[in-house]
């Protein structure tokens, strides 16, 4: 059996404002997202509030991850030694192409024409499914939501719940239309009841689990001390992949390390509560190399860089590498809640995506494309993301830092200032002098009197920032008399009419 068409990719996503505009026009999407994010954010708040030591856990989580960043080379070698000693094979992949080639070579060596996959962000990031398809290897996503996305020829829109943009009725329709084309069809008369949808998925996936000889996973954590790899999940489908096939290939970003087994204690508390709003997730699988007679007898671990060491070189931006992919920041983000994840044009959407994607794409080293450059601006800087982040990534701080990089790259690549840069320069020049500011205020006050009606400037059509404001908003007219002119004329309200 082979897959019949290309896997969709995020390439070609327009810059965020434009992508967001299309998403905002989709009423169904906004309703699905609003409902889902509100539910999970409320549940998260409740389970986090149960822990009196939550802030201490966050601080510990951040400190452990910072330690990993400091000692990364030594810890990676320690992990390699421990995995190798336990019968596994460790590979090092500089980028997506190298990682994909390693996976494909292993799968072909074992004669695989198909593989089952545990939900994994790293393999989405490197577009492994498409790479394997080109080698004639069919890839079956077995996480329910990933399967919905794959069956629907769709793109993920959330880190934890990639099909969050779909409601039950849409999912039923996808199952009915698509399951039969790639395996066991959906049962006749399938309704959109969650139990029926889950049963349809179970039946469809079961035959793939039993047949597959090679499985591919990511990793939530890998313990350098012991060589243990850890995957947390809710469904048990991951456990099927991790135990039934003969060969297991794990692709993990190099930042997924933890120094010691004890460190898991902190993250096993932080991740489920932040992610699925559970005290503990239903399935936690841990394995150390191979165990004769039990589970996969061949284990390959691929350590993926793919831009991560570039992120590490930015002392402020590197905190993004603490991320444990919980998606709490997505669930509380007012921008994500309205636009959904696909508008971010990356497997990493939402606030964390807005700081991680540009960095993984090398913003610290070279100018980035317009879509990438738009991501750090896709935030109102409200700070809700930082508030919930279990590893205390100050996302607004990094967003502002990356905005600076975008501006400097733009300045370096234009011989003349852009209109925006000229505007900011003019404003800065005005603000450097109270006299110039007073003159500008008087001019604005005069303009307001010319264009305003009853204290409001109703509508100025047109493109650009001015048109953007006035499409749905009036603007208060600048005052006839600024505060500073009033103060001088009336001696601060003492000498004249206030």
């Amino acid at each position: 059996m082979t897959t019949h068409e290309h896997e969709p990719t995020f390439r070609g996503t327009p810059p965020f404002p434009e992508a967001a505009r299309s998403a905002l026009a989709n009423e169904q999407l906004r309703a699905n997202l609003g409902r889902a994010t509100t539910t999970i954010r409320t549940k998260r708040a409740a389970v986090v509030a149960e822990r009196a030591d939550w802030e201490a856990l966050r601080l510990a989580g951040a400190a452990i991850k910072d330690e990993v960043m400091r000692d990364l080379p030594a810890l990676l070698e320690r992990l390699e030694a421990a995995v190798t000693a336990a019968g596994g094979t460790v590979h090092w992949a500089r980028d997506a192409a190298e990682a994909n080639a390693i996976v494909a070579a292993i799968a072909r060596r074992h004669g695989a024409t198909e593989v089952v996959k545990v939900k994994s962000m790293a393999t989405q990031e490197i577009e492994l499914n498409e790479a394997l398809r080109q080698h004639g290897i069919a890839v079956w996503e077995t996480d329910l939501a990933e399967m919905i996305v794959q069956l629907g020829h769709d793109l993920p829109s959330h880190i934890l719940v990639p099909a969050i943009h779909r409601n039950r009725t849409e999912i039923r329709d996808i199952f009915i239309d698509e399951m039969g084309r790639v395996g066991r069809p959906a049962p006749a008369g399938l309704t959109d009841a969650p139990s029926e949808l889950a049963e349809a998925a179970r039946l469809h996936l079961r035959e793939k689990f039993l047949r597959a000889r090679v499985a591919i996973s990511g990793a939530n954590f890998a313990v350098a001390e012991t060589g243990t790899v850890v995957v947390l999940e809710s469904e048990g489908n991951g456990r099927m992949c991790l135990t039934l096939p003969e060969v297991l290939i794990t692709v993990m970003g190099i930042e997924k390390l933890l120094p010691t087994w004890r460190d898991l204690e902190v993250f096993m508390q932080l991740l489920p509560r932040s992610s699925t709003a559970e005290r503990m997730n239903p399935y936690t699988s841990m394995w150390t190399g191979v165990t004769p007679g039990d589970g996969p007898q061949t284990f390959h671990l691929i350590l993926l860089d793919n831009g991560r060491t570039d992120v590490l070189s930015d002392t402020l931006g590197r905190q993004a590498l603490r991320c444990i992919r919980c998606s709490a920041c997505l669930n509380v983000c007012p921008v994500y809640e309205r636009t959904g994840g696909q508008a971010y044009g990356s497997v990493y959407p939402g606030p964390i995506g807005a700081i991680l994607t540009p960095q993984l794409r090398g913003i610290a080293r070279h100018p980035v494309d317009k879509q990438t450059a738009s991501l750090p601006f896709a935030s109102s800087l409200c700070g809700a993301c930082f508030e919930v982040c279990p590893v205390r990534i100050d996302i607004p701080e990094v967003l502002v830092h990356l905005r600076g990089q975008v501006v400097r790259q733009s300045e370096a690549s234009h011989r003349l200032p852009t209109s925006e840069a000229a505007g900011f320069a003019a404003a800065a020049w005005t603000f450097r002098s109270p006299r110039r500011l007073a003159l500008a205020e008087r001019a604005a006050g005069l303009g307001g009197r010319l264009f305003g009606r009853r204290g409001r400037i109703p509508r100025i059509p047109g493109p650009g920032p001015i048109g953007g404001w006035f499409r749905a908003r009036d603007l208060k007219t600048p005052a006839r008399e600024s505060f500073r002119d009033w103060w001088r004329r009336s001696d601060g309200g003492r000498g004249g009419p206030s």
Binding site: A20, C382, V400, D474
Partner: protein, 244 residues
């Protein structure tokens, strides 16, 4: 105590009545205030838009202008956040003594409700405002500055005022500085949800410690021809009698 007001550039230009109310309120409470005319802008718009270098002269100006005061009061949680949280970042871009000067001045800068409650020790400022009011707590005031329930306590003590709950009050209104124009569609979508919550609250007046959010929400209310008025917290606290 020598008190200065930092009026902020957009209050200066767009909402001078907010600055006047701040001065009137503090005077009524027995405190003379000064307006150092050399002040301009805190640089937040430049900072948050990626023009951090352009902030350096604005930060230098700010710490020079306000160095001599015991307290600097500003009717803006957002600008107070810029001074207290981000001035240090800008100062670190420079060599010399700017970081020290920032460290000396920034802790003396207070958002209005902080100044009233923490410095003056007041919650009842003697205001009378017989209207139904909802409070937009604002992201910068709550998440970054940590003003907590100070604005609520001040409003509850106002004679005649009925404070109604604003559903989902912690949600961002969508202003976000240049976000409002760079991502206008998303900003407006967020704003309209806020407007729906404001209209659903039954309030006659929406108040906040920041006119930036209010300018955005007010612009949407105005376009909808809603009778709900926007007023800065200072304007309500400065009022001592019912006005039409």
């Amino acid at each position: 105590m020598r008190i200065a007001v930092f009026i902020t550039c957009y209050n200066d230009l767009l909402f001078p009545e907010v600055g006047q109310a701040t001065v009137r309120l503090l005077r009524r409470l027995g405190h003379e205030v000064e307006f150092p005319a050399e002040q301009t802008c805190c640089g937040q718009m430049h900072f948050n838009s990626g023009y951090q270098d352009a902030c350096i002269p604005l930060v230098e100006r700010f710490v020079d202008v306000f160095a001599a005061y015991d307290a600097v009061v500003t009717p803006s949680g957002s600008c107070a956040t810029m001074v207290r949280h981000h001035f240090g970042v800008v100062a670190d871009l420079t060599s010399g003594d700017l970081p020290d000067r920032v460290a000396s001045v920034a802790p003396r800068v207070f958002e209005l409700s902080e100044f009233l409650v923490d410095v003056l020790g007041l919650t009842d400022v003697g205001a009378r405002f017989p209207h139904t009011v909802a409070l937009h707590p604002t992201c910068h005031s709550t998440r970054l500055l940590g003003v907590g329930d100070r604005p609520t306590r001040l409003l509850r003590a106002v004679d005649g005022l009925t404070l109604v709950d604003l559903p989902r009050s912690e949600a961002c209104c969508g202003f976000g500085g240049t976000f409002a124009v760079k991502n206008a569609d998303t900003s407006v979508a967020m704003g309209f949800d806020k407007v729906d919550d404001v209209l659903g609250s039954g309030a006659e007046v929406l108040t906040a410690g920041d006119t930036s959010c209010l300018m955005h929400i007010g612009g949407l209310l105005s376009r909808r021809r809603s009778p709900v008025r926007i007023m800065h917290l200072a304007e309500i606290l400065a009022t001592t009698e019912a006005r039409a």
